[in-house]
């Protein structure tokens, strides 16, 4: 089956992204495909490439990137939820007059409508709420 995940918890303060990653790995070890992961609410914090946890702790951003690199999983981030929380890519930073940014490919800032598209094209959307 074709799956997508909806992640709404922040790394290190919610179990949601950790569980979602484990679920993703379990899916891909089986006979399934994972189309996308959509990050909403506090889940948008997963997209920051600036996160720098201690070296002996999992780097959630890096783990999502690996999922993208190895399996082509799309990483979509709700733009409104992200900007509100200071998660911003180069293009939006320029638009809003910020000198710095914290989100880059493979994470893509996109509208909430993308979540509905994903739901339309996948067999299952599994929610990991905070």
């Amino acid at each position: 089956m074709k799956y997508a995940l909806l992640v709404m918890g922040a790394p290190y303060s919610s179990q949601a992204p950790h569980s979602a990653l484990r679920f993703a790995r379990a899916l891909l070890d089986g006979e399934h495909t994972l189309d996308s992961v959509f990050f909403y609410r506090d889940g948008v914090h997963n997209a920051s490439f600036l996160m720098t946890p201690p070296q002996d702790e999992a780097n959630l951003h890096r783990l999502w990137c690996e999922l993208n690199r190895e399996h082509g999983v799309k990483l979509d981030v709700c733009i409104a939820a992200a900007l509100r929380r200071g998660l911003i890519n180069a293009e939006e930073a320029a638009r809003h007059g910020h000198g710095e940014y914290s989100v880059a490919s493979p994470f893509a800032l996109t509208g909430l409508g993308q979540l509905l598209d994903i739901q339309q094209r996948c067999d299952r959307v599994i929610t990991f709420a905070a």
Partner: protein, 119 residues
């Protein structure tokens, strides 16, 4: 009914932006021309209290969004009757276009929806 999007909202107002971001999903679904059905559960029922005054510390009010859902062809706001009873609320305490459902009717909403988003 297969295209219907059921949006389950379980956040009370002023619990951060949780409720606002749940309602956004509702509005986006409607803006995309999908039939959208909102189901308020648990603490989400408090979103439907008409007496809320705007301006809780530093946060925008969500009641105006509830009030304008009709403009998006979202005519009926559903909630489980049991959740209302548990919170001491009756239909008369809530905004006008709400409908209380028994457990079977709630189950039917999930059964009939093409897609479900739970917030």
């Amino acid at each position: 009914m297969d295209d219907t999007l059921l949006v389950v909202i379980r956040s009370a107002p002023y619990q951060g932006v949780r409720l606002r971001e749940s309602l956004d999903a509702l509005l986006v679904g409607a803006a995309f021309g999908k039939p959208v059905v909102p189901l308020f559960m648990g603490q989400g029922l408090f979103a439907l209290l008409p007496g809320q005054t705007p301006g809780a510390p530093g946060q925008k009010a969500t009641l105006p969004i509830i009030d304008m859902l009709e403009m998006y062809d979202i005519d009926t706001l559903y909630l489980p009757a049991a959740d209302a009873t548990a919170r001491g609320l009756t239909e008369g305490d809530l905004v006008a276009n709400t409908q209380l459902l028994d457990a079977d009717a709630v189950q039917a909403l999930f059964h009939e929806a093409g897609q479900v988003l739970t917030f």
